[in-house]
Point group: C2
Chain length 431, copies 2
C-alpha cells in the first residue's frame, strides 16, 4: 500500500472537488494500493469546510496556510489559493523549502516564479506538479513532457481560456455583440464580475508561458509576451471572417522557426478546416506540430471543479507512486527569442479592417499606402451600410511580415478619415 | 545519469524509426540525464541492418530474437515483430520470464495474451508498456491510465485504424466506390496487399480490446467481440448519411450503461457535429466520456514510423526513469458483460438500407413488418434510379434496441424482393 499525506490550501470549487473525489473513490484507490489521506486543510471559512466535508472529522484545520505548508506533517502540499504573489507564493515556498512536493493549479504564480520555484525544488529534491494549471482536465503537461517527450515540437497553438472561447463562440453562432455576450456569460457564471484577466488575454498568457517553458525553454517575464485580448472584436469581424472561411479564436501560439521563437496571445482567424476551429464553448484545446511525428490535438474541458480536480488528483497519484516529475525536462530547444517586431513571423496573411468615413477618394489613399508599404492584398471588401457615413473596409493581405503590416497600420491610423484604430488580426491556415 | 540497455526485435519501419530517433536525439537525451543504449538487435536481414545503422558498429546482432530476449544483458526488450503468436509471443515470454521489461507495439499479441503476460510480468516484477500499440503516436494509454486515472470512464469511442479511415474519408469526399479507393490505398502504401486485418475491423478490435481492458476490465477473448468491417459500405450509404447529417466512420466503442458493458467494432453514422466526424484520412482519434469530468478527444497520427516510434520511445524513457507502469491499474469498473443480443443497447437510432426490386407493394410489406416488430421510423426515403428495376429503400428508426432491429433485419432479408442483406448501421448523435 502506498500512502501519501496531503495538505490542501484553498477550498474553492477545485479544492472541494479534489476532496470530494478522493473521498468518493477511496475504496477504488485502496484496491489499487493507494491511500491518499488529507491530513491538513486551510481556507477562509472553517465552518463552511466542516459542513462541506463531514467525513473529515476532526477537520484537520490550519488557520494559516503557509504555516500549514511548513509545519504540517505531510508529503504533498496542494496549492489552490490562486494569485501570483502573497499567500500562494508563501505556501509554495514553505512547502518546497521544507522538502514537500508542491502540486498547484495556479498558472499565474507558476508563470511568474517558475525559475525560482524550480531552483527551490531542486535544492530540496522535491517535485512541482501542475497538470491542473493548463487546460483544466486535459492531461496536456503529461502528454507533452512524457508522451511526446522525444519529439521536437515546432509549434503549439492553444485555446486556453474557456471564458473567451464561450464569448467568441456565442458571437459566432448567434451574431451577437461582445458586450451583450459578456454580460450573459457573467450571469451564467462563465465570466467573472471583473473579467479583465480572461478577456484581456492574461490568463491565456500565463498558460502559454508554461507550455512555452516546457517546450521551448522560454523563460522571459510575461510582460515580454505580446498579449492581446478579445474586447475589441466586433460582430462585423466575425461575420467577415466566416464569409472568408475563417473562425475567430483567442489563440496562444508558441512557434519555433529557424531557431527563432515567437510567443504570443491574440485573437486569430483560423481556417474553418483546422481542428481548433470546431472547439466551441468553454472547451479548451491544444494543437502541437512536431518536427517529424505529425500533429496532435487534445480537446477537453478547460476549467470547472471536476475536470481541474481530475488533473490535480492525477498529480497526487503521480506523487504517491513517486512517478518522476518531468517538468524539469530541460528546454528541448535553445532558441533565440524573436524580437517583438519579428513576432508573427511565421504567420502569412493578415486581416485588416478599417472604419472609415464613406467619401470618395478613401480607397485611393488606402491603396496608395499599401503600395508604399509594399504590401499586396488578396482581397478588399467594403462592408456595412453607409447610412451614418461610416463603412468598414476589409483587406486580406498576401503573406507579409508583421513589421511591415504594423507600419501600415500605424500609417492608416494617422489618416483623418479613419475613425478608430484599424483591426489587425493574423490568419492561420490549416497546416 | 540514468542508463538503460535496450534490445530491439524487429527492424521494420517502426523499429528503424526507434533506432534512428534515439541516435538523432542522443545528445539531447544525455543533457536530460538519460543514456538509452541499444545493446541488441534482431531481425530478418543482418546486412540490411548493418547498412541502415552504421552508427551501431559493431552491430549487436542476434540471429534468434527470442534467444536475445532471454540472454541479452539488457533492461528492456522492445518487441516490434508483430503477430499474435509465434516468435513475438516467444520474445515477450522470454523477456518477462527473465525479469526484463517488455515494450511492445503489438496489439494482436497483447489483445490475445494480456492476462498471461500480465501474470508473468507480475511474477517477475517487471513492467509491460505498450503506448505504441493503440492509436500510434497519440499518448492515449498514458492519458487514460495516468492523466484521467481518477475518472470513471463511461464510454470510449475510437477511430483506431488509419487504413479504414483513409478509405472512408476518400469515399466521403470524392464519392468513390470502396474497391476503387482500396486499390488506390494499396498503391499508396496505406493499405496492405492483403487488407483483411484492417478492413474487416480486426485491427480496430485488437486496439479496442486493450482500451476496454484498461478502462472497464474487459477480459474476454476477442472472438467474443462483435466486429464488423467496412467492406460492404457502398457509396450510396455514404451519400445518404451525408444528406441526413452524418459521416460514416469505423468506430470501436466500449460503453458502460447501468453496469453493463458493450464492446463492439462497426461502421457507424456519426453526427457531423461530433468531434470524431472531422477526423479524416489516416488520422486516429479517441473520444472518452467520463462520469463527472466531461469528455476528452485526442487526435493524431495513428500509424507510421515516426509517430509509433515516438510512442515506443516514450515507453523507453518511462522505463529508464523507472516510472510506475499503470497498465495493471485494476479494472476500474466491474461490469457484467452485455450479451450479444443486448449489444448496442445505448445506441438509439438505426439506419437500414434495403436493396429491393422496384415494384408496387414493396413499401406496404416493409412497413407492415416494421409495425409487427413494433419499430417506428423517423424517416423513410427511396434512393437511386430504378432503370435496372432496383431501388434502395432507406429507413432511420426511432430509438430502438438492437435485438428488435436485428429481428427486423432477419425478417427483411427473408423477403423475396430484397436483393441483398439489409445494410444495418447504428447512429451516434453528438453527446
Amino acid at each position: 500500500m502506498k500512502r501519501i499525506a496531503i495538505a490542501i490550501a484553498g477550498l474553492g470549487t477545485v479544492g472541494s472537488g479534489v476532496i470530494h473525489q478522493l473521498h468518493r473513490q477511496r475504496d477504488l484507490l485502496k484496491k489499487q494500493g493507494l491511500e491518499l489521506d488529507i491530513v491538513g486543510v486551510s481556507a477562509r471559512n472553517r465552518e463552511k469546510a466542516a459542513q462541506a466535508f463531514p467525513f473529515l472529522d476532526p477537520l484537520p484545520w490550519w488557520e494559516n496556510a503557509a504555516e500549514m505548508a511548513r509545519a504540517c506533517p505531510c508529503d504533498v502540499v496542494v496549492e489552490l489559493v490562486g494569485g501570483e504573489e502573497g499567500i500562494a507564493k508563501e505556501i509554495a515556498e514553505a512547502a518546497l523549502s521544507t522538502g514537500k512536493e508542491l502540486i498547484s493549479a495556479n498558472k499565474a504564480l507558476l508563470a511568474k516564479h517558475f525559475d525560482a520555484l524550480q531552483k527551490l525544488s531542486q535544492a530540496n529534491a522535491c517535485a512541482i506538479r501542475f497538470e491542473g494549471a493548463v487546460a483544466g482536465g486535459i492531461p496536456i503537461i503529461k502528454a507533452l513532457t512524457e508522451g511526446l517527450a522525444i519529439n521536437n515540437v515546432r509549434r503549439v497553438e492553444g485555446i486556453l481560456n474557456g471564458t473567451c472561447n464561450y464569448i467568441l463562440t456565442a458571437m459566432t453562432s448567434e451574431g451577437r455583440a461582445y458586450q451583450d455576450v459578456l454580460e450573459e456569460a457573467q450571469a451564467l457564471g462563465y465570466a467573472e464580475a471583473d473579467p479583465t484577466t480572461d478577456v484581456e488575454g492574461h490568463d491565456t498568457a500565463h498558460k502559454l508561458a508554461l507550455l512555452a517553458r516546457l517546450l521551448f525553454g522560454w523563460n522571459k517575464p510575461i510582460s515580454k509576451m505580446s498579449v492581446k485580448g478579445i474586447a475589441d472584436i466586433q460582430a462585423i469581424d466575425i461575420t467577415v471572417a466566416q464569409q472568408l472561411g475563417y473562425i475567430i479564436k483567442l489563440i496562444g501560439v508558441g512557434s519555433m522557426t529557424n531557431n527563432r521563437l515567437d510567443v504570443e496571445v491574440a485573437p486569430m482567424m483560423i481556417a474553418d478546416t483546422n481542428p481548433l476551429a470546431k472547439v466551441d464553448g468553454v472547451l479548451n484545446a491544444v494543437h502541437v506540430t512536431t518536427e517529424m511525428a505529425g500533429t496532435y490535438t487534445l480537446i477537453g474541458p478547460g476549467a470547472g471543479a471536476e475536470p481541474t480536480a481530475s488533473a490535480v488528483i492525477a498529480d497526487i497519484i503521480d506523487a504517491a507512486l513517486s512517478a518522476p516529475s518531468r517538468n524539469f525536462f530541460p528546454a528541448r530547444q535553445e532558441a533565440e527569442d524573436a524580437s517583438e517586431e519579428d513576432g508573427h513571423s511565421r504567420i502569412k496573411k493578415w486581416y485588416l479592417r478599417l472604419e472609415v468615413v464613406d467619401k470618395p477618394g478613401v480607397l485611393a489613399v488606402v491603396t496608395a499606402l499599401l503600395r508604399d508599404n509594399q504590401i499586396s492584398v488578396d482581397s478588399v471588401l467594403q462592408k456595412g451600410q453607409s447610412a451614418d457615413d461610416k463603412v468598414s473596409l476589409v483587406m486580406v493581405t498576401h503573406p507579409t511580415r508583421f513589421s511591415q503590416v504594423k507600419e501600415l497600420k500605424n500609417s492608416l491610423d494617422r489618416l483623418d478619415f479613419v475613425l478608430r484604430p484599424t483591426q489587425l488580426m493574423p490568419i492561420i491556415e490549416n497546416e
